[in-house]
């Protein structure tokens, strides 16, 4: 009874490369030729690790048409992302579906502020690349709780006119949050024409509130709860400009000034207690693996 796994997009999804970027953030290069061929900045995939797995959305960071691979950068925070972090080169992922969602509209704005929070920086990277190619001058702000969660600083720096780092605890860069730096940037002579912000919901909310004061167009990427990712379940519904939208097919990016952030923040808490149950099981499983020295 292997029909479910037999031809996932016509291929087996093998992990080709794995690189640990920080204690919890890992970069994976995965075989997914059809996705690689069509993906554009802003697209995501839904992955399911195995037969008992859940489907989770992950933004595509990069792709290689010739090799037939996509790159994902994932922070191990939930059951599935932790289980993924235990996989190694040569292991497979049961399902990879995509590219999903609308690609990011890449326009010329003159100067653009690209703001990445935590692992959101990974999602922001391909968009920043495209914005830079479109002739925009890039000002990047990367924020995280602490130094070890700062990723892609070099890569983002290479395509930015200026790059700023903020950490909540001051362990690296400016002590504070991204909006402290953004306020300076918006009041400077940089002439920021648009802001692209990807990170935790409270961060995107704060950025949007700030840019509203300055009347600067702001695009945010909403990481809503999804099951299928194709417009079928409606679980990812968000309120934008007073209307119900599905993040998977109408987004995932929306005008930050129109998003009801408080609503999606509450909705994303729906399964917090059950996620804890899942996580604990995953952790005890991981502990067992380590104790037994299992190196599959």
């Amino acid at each position: 009874m292997n029909y479910e796994l037999s031809r996932s997009g016509g291929h087996v999804h093998t992990i080709i490369e794995k690189e640990v970027l920080s204690p919890t953030i890992t970069r994976y290069v995965i075989e997914a030729p059809f996705v690689a061929r069509k993906r554009l900045p802003g697209n995501f995939v839904i992955i399911r690790l195995d037969e008992t797995g859940e489907r989770i959305p992950l933004t595509i960071v990069d792709g290689d048409k010739e090799r037939g691979t996509i790159t994902l950068i994932v922070q191990a925070i939930g059951k599935t992302t932790r289980a993924l972090s235990l996989k190694n080169v040569g292991d497979t992922i049961a399902d990879v579906a995509g590219p999903l969602g609308n690609p990011t509209p890449i326009e010329y704005h003159g100067a653009v502020a690209c703001i990445g929070g935590g692992v959101g920086t990974a999602e922001l990277f391909p968009i920043t690349q495209a914005l830079q190619k479109a002739g925009n001058t890039i000002y990047t702000i990367i924020g995280a709780r602490s130094k070890d969660l700062i990723i892609l600083e070099k890569e983002m720096g290479a395509i930015s006119r200026d790059l700023y780092v903020t950490t909540d605890d001051g362990s690296y860069g400016r002590k504070g949050i991204v909006t402290d730096q953004l306020r300076d940037l918006l009041t400077s002579s940089a002439g920021i024409g648009a802001v692209y912000a990807i990170g935790p919901l409270p961060m995107m909310k704060a950025v949007s509130n700030l840019t509203r004061e300055f009347g600067v167009k702001t695009l945010v990427s909403l990481n809503a709860i999804m099951v299928d990712g194709t417009g079928m379940c409606g679980g990812c519904r968000v309120t934008v400009d007073g209307k119900m939208k599905f993040a998977c097919v109408d987004g995932p990016e929306f005008d930050g000034h129109s998003v009801d952030f408080d609503e999606i923040i509450m909705r994303n808490r729906t399964y917090v207690d059950l996620e804890r149950v899942s996580n604990e099981r995953c952790q005890s499983h991981a502990a067992l693996q380590t104790e037994g020295g299992s190196t599959r």
Partner: protein, 485 residues
């Protein structure tokens, strides 16, 4: 040789209609095993002798795929069960599914001559019996497929329309490739219809039988995103495409409170349980918040599936809230009956107006108003009218909306020249040809929300049209089907 039924019609009419063996309602409302266990051989034999063997077998006309019902029942009477199921499969490749989910009471059994004065012959239960008998006794042999033709056909969507179209074309010798967006095959049969109505072993087996015809299946492949329809023609070399992507996009009522935690579309609720097996959490990773007190809004089969599922997930109070009366309910009579047996409470002529919230934005209750029936509306059903001052609050923590689905718009949006109707359906003519040459469509994508068997019928009709199209015969381009409203 055939056994002749020597009983006179008057004697046959005295035989009571044989009923299925069913799981006890209290027990089954706590498990996901199949509700109906079907007829055993003895009951099937008795039931087959009730057939009046009409000279003009109107039942065949009543069947959307025109199964030769009289002949297959005759074969049951002859105890040639494998022959009976082969006879069915000539017209319908998926008898184990149809025998379970078809609304026979409004099709073949509705016109059965016996049914004029007595309960009609249990055609659906006989169909299921022979299909199950074939499986249990390992009697299935795949039909002989003729020499493979050069032309390939792409089937988009692996639900009942796609599965049937794929089987029919493969039987004609075409190379068939089916594309499914999800990780598992079956469409609504997989994510929508619960296990207690259609066991997954049955569905898996029917999918295997389609594969046995040489049909190739790509899962995790969302047409419109992973590849477009134009790419299927230009890069993949398909000669024709059948679209059977169903009506998978949920609609919401638009009442206040729909964004609260604890509010689900029936699609999401059922997908979490059926496709993702959330009822086995945490052994399976997908969570669900099923709730102890649940209100399901709607009166169709999806609403019945959702409310009966919530009961199985432990709901102490499971309400079905429907704004019209019982007569107007679109759900199958059998499903309504089963739901009642399982302790579902029906709140009819009741219209939800608002979902109330707790401080942490969870569902706290459902505000409803009582309705009365007024003059008939455009659907011919009497329009429900609110009774002033009748508002009340239903104490629930979960609200599931099952008020209908519409087609997913991704293919329409990514296929230039494909005409789309008012409700997002793809416009077709009687031959199920769309406005784009070589593209055919059927099932809920074209109908906007119908039954499994009508989707299967469309799959058959489209397969024939595709065959004619590829063979160079003209496909009826006139008579564009009026938009189903």
């Amino acid at each position: 040789m055939s056994v002749t039924n020597t009983m006179k019609p008057s004697e046959r009419m005295k035989i009571p209609r044989q009923s299925s063996i069913e799981q006890d309602p209290v027990e089954r409302s706590r498990n996901f095993r199949e509700v109906s266990l079907g007829l055993d051989e003895a009951r099937a034999m008795v039931e087959s002798t009730r057939c009046l063997e009409c000279k003009n077998p109107v039942c065949i006309e009543g069947c959307p795929v025109n199964i030769d019902i009289r002949s297959f029942i005759q074969l049951v009477m002859d105890r040639d069960y494998a022959g009976a199921v082969r006879k069915i499969r000539e017209a319908n490749y998926l008898p184990a599914i149809c025998g379970r989910v078809c609304p026979q009471e409004s099709q073949c059994e509705a016109v059965c001559t016996m049914g004029k004065k007595h309960p009609s012959v249990a055609i659906g239960k006989l169909e299921r019996f022979v299909a199950d008998y074939e499986t249990e006794n390992n009697l299935f042999t795949p039909p002989v497929v003729p020499e493979r033709r050069d032309e390939k056909v792409a089937i988009v969507g692996s639900g009942p329309a796609g599965l049937t179209c794929a089987a029919e074309l493969a039987k004609m010798g075409y190379g068939v490739t089916m594309f499914e967006a999800l990780h598992a095959v079956g469409g609504v049969l997989r994510y929508g219809i619960p296990e207690f109505r259609l066991p997954r072993t049955i569905l898996d087996q029917e999918v295997e039988r389609i594969k046995a015809l040489g049909v190739e299946i790509y899962t995790n492949f969302l047409i419109g995103r992973t590849a477009t329809i134009d790419e299927l023609f230009d890069d993949w070399g398909f000669s024709a495409v059948f679209l059977g992507t169903g009506a998978g996009t949920p609609t919401f009522m638009g009442i206040p409170g729909e964004s609260l935690s604890g509010v689900y579309s029936a699609n999401e609720f059922l997908t979490r349980v059926n496709l993702m097996k959330a009822y086995k959490f945490p052994d399976f990773d997908t969570p669900i918040k099923a709730g102890r007190r649940v209100a399901v809004i709607g009166g169709g089969n999806t609403a019945m599936d959702a409310v009966r599922t919530s009961r199985r997930l432990g709901a102490e109070k499971a309400y079905l809230v429907y704004r019209r009366s019982r007569e107007e309910m679109p759900a199958r009579v059998e499903e309504v009956h089963h739901a009642e047996e399982e302790g579902i409470e029906f709140l009819l002529l009741t219209n939800p107006t608002r979902i109330l919230a707790t401080d942490t934005k969870w569902v706290k209750g459902l505000e409803c108003q009582k309705m009365e029936l007024g003059e008939p509306d455009e659907s011919g059903r009497r329009r429900p009218v609110p009774i002033k001052g009748s508002e009340f609050i239903l104490d629930v923590e979960t609200v599931i909306e099952a008020i209908g689905q519409k087609p997913n718009p991704i293919i329409q949006a990514t296929t230039p020249g494909l005409d789309v109707g008012k409700r997002g359906t793809v416009v077709t003519n009687d031959a199920l040809a769309t406005s784009r040459e070589g593209i055919f469509a059927g099932g809920d994508l074209a109908r906007g929300g119908a039954t499994v068997i009508l989707a299967m019928r469309d799959g058959k009709v489209a397969a024939q049209s595709i065959h004619e199209y590829i063979s160079g015969k003209p496909v009826n381009k006139e008579q564009v089907r009026a938009e189903a409203v």
